[in-house]
């Protein structure tokens, strides 16, 4: 008799038991027609193309979603007073007076390295992460597994959210740990996370490794003076430091932290905010107004470009042509060649009024063929074709001022 038969024989005289040994009140049996969720995540449907969208938040806290395929607009949630938004390509983490509200845009992309899968599910408001003061949110490439880090600088509380639970519609704090209040970060890396620790002056000076329960891992401290800015590429999580960047990744369950120092002899300001196309290895950051840092997380190298015009923002497309897209301080989209720094295209002054008035902060979102730009004061969202001389391909009027915008479906 095979081992299987021994078990079946033993169970046959006994009770209702799922084969895993755990009772399951709702068995999914292929004959019962209860299988709709197989091959999908929690009721999501797979799509042939990415359902790219722009999720915006206005002054009244209304969260809207613009579907870039069919140009339809839907209201996803109302979150009250909002002061910022962060996304991992699916969830909008909206900064509010009570903490961080998490809204599921219902569209996302799953990166399989050699190819992608695209999903759509019902959008919904998931819940609020309570906290006081401005929060810094750090996310990974995956919107279906791992964690998302929320750091409240005023209280020093660092909260790791369970991203898989968010995908199931539940807000679950894996842990909430208290640190010394400072302008800091909690950055998820696999099942671990890095949290900043300040020096006596209150400036982040190093990062500590936290295990899955939020406990410091012995020997897991890495110097990172004046830590600011984080982004996760498909290679590693990035944290900006005054002397370079830390790259953190998990290899065979072990955290690996590499330091990418700035090139010797350069005096350009340090990168404090990174942006790039979702998942790509190369990201961009401003080095003051006149220069651009490109960090290639795969080659572990920095490149410094001179910008032909003063810039307020920059992002890297990291396509075959190495496009880098900037927003000039006078409100134009400018396209640079990331290899040579050459100016490839310039749009008109799309967001001059927003920059002048200080109503919201125009934000760029790059994808493979387009860059999107929010224009809060102008009440518009622009779609710009960076490969075609920064041509404005589409303009979307918005019913209210899109103060904050997140690129979703990515």
């Amino acid at each position: 008799m095979s081992p299987r038969l021994i078990v079946l024989a033993a169970l046959a005289v006994l009770p209702l038991v799922a084969c895993s040994g755990e009772p399951d009140p709702s068995p999914r049996d292929s004959s019962a027609g209860g299988d709709e969720n197989h091959g999908e995540f929690a009721g999501a449907v797979e799509l042939a193309e990415p359902a790219l969208g722009l999720t915006t938040v206005d002054a009244a806290g209304v969260v809207r979603h613009l579907d870039l395929l069919d140009e339809s607009v839907s209201e996803l949630a109302g979150v009250g007073d909002a002061s910022g938004v962060h996304t991992d390509g699916r969830f909008a983490f909206v900064q509010t007076s009570g903490g961080v509200d998490v809204v599921d845009s219902g569209v996302w992309t799953w990166d399989h390295v050699d190819h992608f899968h695209y999903y759509r599910a019902e959008p919904r408001e998931v819940g609020t992460v309570p906290g006081t003061g401005p929060a810094t949110v750090a996310t990974t490439n995956s919107s279906t597994s791992g964690g998302s880090g929320v750091f409240f600088g005023e209280s020093g509380e660092a909260v790791l959210l369970d991203t898989e639970a968010l995908a199931d519609g539940e807000l679950v704090e894996r842990y909430r740990v208290s640190t010394t209040p400072h302008d800091g970060l909690l950055v998820p890396v696999g099942d671990l996370a890095l949290v900043t620790e300040p020096d006596a002056s209150g400036t982040a000076a190093r990062v500590l490794t936290l295990d899955g329960d939020g406990r410091p891992v012995p020997g897991g401290a890495h110097p990172c003076p004046d830590a600011q800015g984080t982004i996760t590429t498909r290679v590693a999580a990035v944290i900006g430091c005054a002397d370079g960047a830390l790259l953190a990744s998990v290899v065979d369950d072990e955290l690996q932290v590499e330091r990418i120092p700035y090139p010797p002899g350069t005096s350009a300001p340090a990168a404090t905010s990174f942006a790039g196309r979702d998942g790509r290895p190369t990201v961009a950051a401003l080095a003051g107004e006149d220069r651009v840092w490109l960090l290639d997380t795969r080659a572990e190298s920095w490149t410094l470009l001179e910008s032909p015009v003063p810039l307020a923002q920059v992002t890297a497309v990291d396509d075959d042509d190495e496009h880098v897209v900037g927003l000039s301080t006078d409100g134009r989209v400018v396209v640079l060649d990331g290899g040579s720094g050459e100016l490839l295209g310039t749009s008109g002054r799309l967001v001059a009024a927003s920059l002048r008035s200080g109503v919201g902060v125009p934000t760029m979102v790059a994808d493979q063929q387009r860059v999107y730009l929010s224009a809060p004061a102008e009440k518009r969202l622009y779609e710009v074709d960076f490969a075609d001389d920064a041509r404005v391909a589409r303009t979307f009027e918005t019913p209210t001022r899109p103060l904050y915008v997140a690129g979703t479906g990515r």
């Binding site: 095979s2 081992p3 299987r4 038969l5 021994i6 078990v7 079946l8 033993a10 169970l11 046959a12 006994l14 009770p15 209702l16 038991v17 799922a18 084969c19 895993s20 040994g21 755990e22 009772p23 399951d24 068995p27 999914r28 049996d29 292929s30 299988d35 969720n37 197989h38 091959g39 999908e40 995540f41 797979e46 799509l47 042939a48 193309e49 990415p50 790219l52 870039l68 395929l69 140009e71 799953w110 399989h112 390295v113 050699d114 190819h115 899968h117 498909r234 994808d367 493979q368 063929q369 387009r370 779609e383 074709d385 490969a387 075609d388 041509r391 391909a393 589409r394």
Partner: protein, 305 residues
């Protein structure tokens, strides 16, 4: 399964009080159980093992082998199976923990990827890592069937002679499809043997039947809403260089792609879809592996010849 686990299962059962047994396979069926991950392999295993075993295929029709999920009962069934058959080469990402758990429990495993000569992805970020989509080449499936036969005849309770006879019959059918595909593709002139596609699964087919794969040049939906020449430049170049009259794309808006190509670039091609990673429900065009191979070969030949 270890003796400790058996005792644990009995205890757990005893504590829950009397009821009926929910173990999936029908109560009186004491044939061995073969659990298979993907539905393409499930079809092949059923052909080879016939009624000598219960074949449990985890991945449903039209699902995605990279990301499907299984229930707790199915995971349990895997751990008490007589044989677990998987694709391997990293295809079953969502299932790997369960495959590992079954292996840890001592369940015998057959990994199809171990039976074939593996190709690496040719380009892109995955370049150099193994490509798991071997089923687009029927000759590689021949290697898999031979390995499968060897694994199945070792399973307690199957009649090895019956399984071997069924394996021989299926190998003959595979050989026939292989010959048909060779003949079908022969209609395509050598200069037009290019698959302009955003599918990532035809590397083995290209290797076997001498096609060139031109990938990642088909623009997506948002771009096509307001296209420019630059959006279509790579695709137009690929079409002109290869001389093809059809491209193979998964797209929610193939018509828009055709229109954009005609208007913006003056290029006239068909956009066709192929079966890629999953069998379909019966009647939807790819209900079994051999039908899937034939359907794809005919579409490719019709588009390119």
């Amino acid at each position: 399964m270890s003796a400790v686990r058996v005792v644990g299962a009995v205890l757990a059962a005893a504590l829950l009080g009397p009821a009926l047994v929910a173990c999936s396979t029908s109560d009186d069926d004491d044939r061995p159980v073969v659990v298979v991950s993907t539905n393409i392999l499930g079809d092949v295993v059923e052909e080879v093992v016939g009624d000598q075993a219960q074949v449990v295929t985890l991945m449903r029709p039209n699902a995605d082998p990279h990301s499907f999920e299984i229930s707790a009962q199915e995971a349990g069934r895997m751990r008490s199976a007589d044989l677990v058959v998987s694709n391997g080469l990293g295809l079953e990402e969502g299932l790997q923990q369960h495959l590992d758990a079954a292996a840890d429990d001592g369940v015998r495993a057959f990994v199809a990827g171990d039976a074939i000569e593996v190709l690496d992805y040719a380009d892109g970020d995955a370049s150099g890592s193994p490509d798991p989509h071997f089923w687009t080449d029927p000759a590689r499936m021949v290697d898999v069937v031979e390995g499968l036969e060897a694994a199945l005849v070792e399973v307690d309770g199957v009649d090895a002679e019956v399984v071997s006879a069924q394996a021989d019959a299926y190998l003959e059918e595979l050989g026939a499809v292989d010959a048909e595909m060779t003949e079908t593709f022969a209609a395509i002139p050598a200069g037009q043997r290019a698959l302009v596609t955003n599918h990532h699964v035809f590397g083995y087919l290209a290797d076997r039947f001498d096609f060139e794969i031109v990938g990642a040049v088909i623009p997506g939906g948002t771009t096509l809403a307001a296209p420019s020449a630059s959006d279509l430049a790579d695709l137009v170049t690929a079409i002109e260089e290869t001389g093809v009259r059809a491209v193979f794309a998964e797209s929610s808006s193939p018509d828009r792609l055709v229109q954009a190509l005609a208007q913006e670039a003056g290029v006239d091609v068909e956009v066709l879809e192929l079966y890629t990673e999953s069998l379909t429900e019966p009647g939807e065009g790819a209900e079994d592996y051999l039908t899937m191979l034939r359907a794809n070969a005919e579409r490719i030949a019709a588009g390119l010849a």
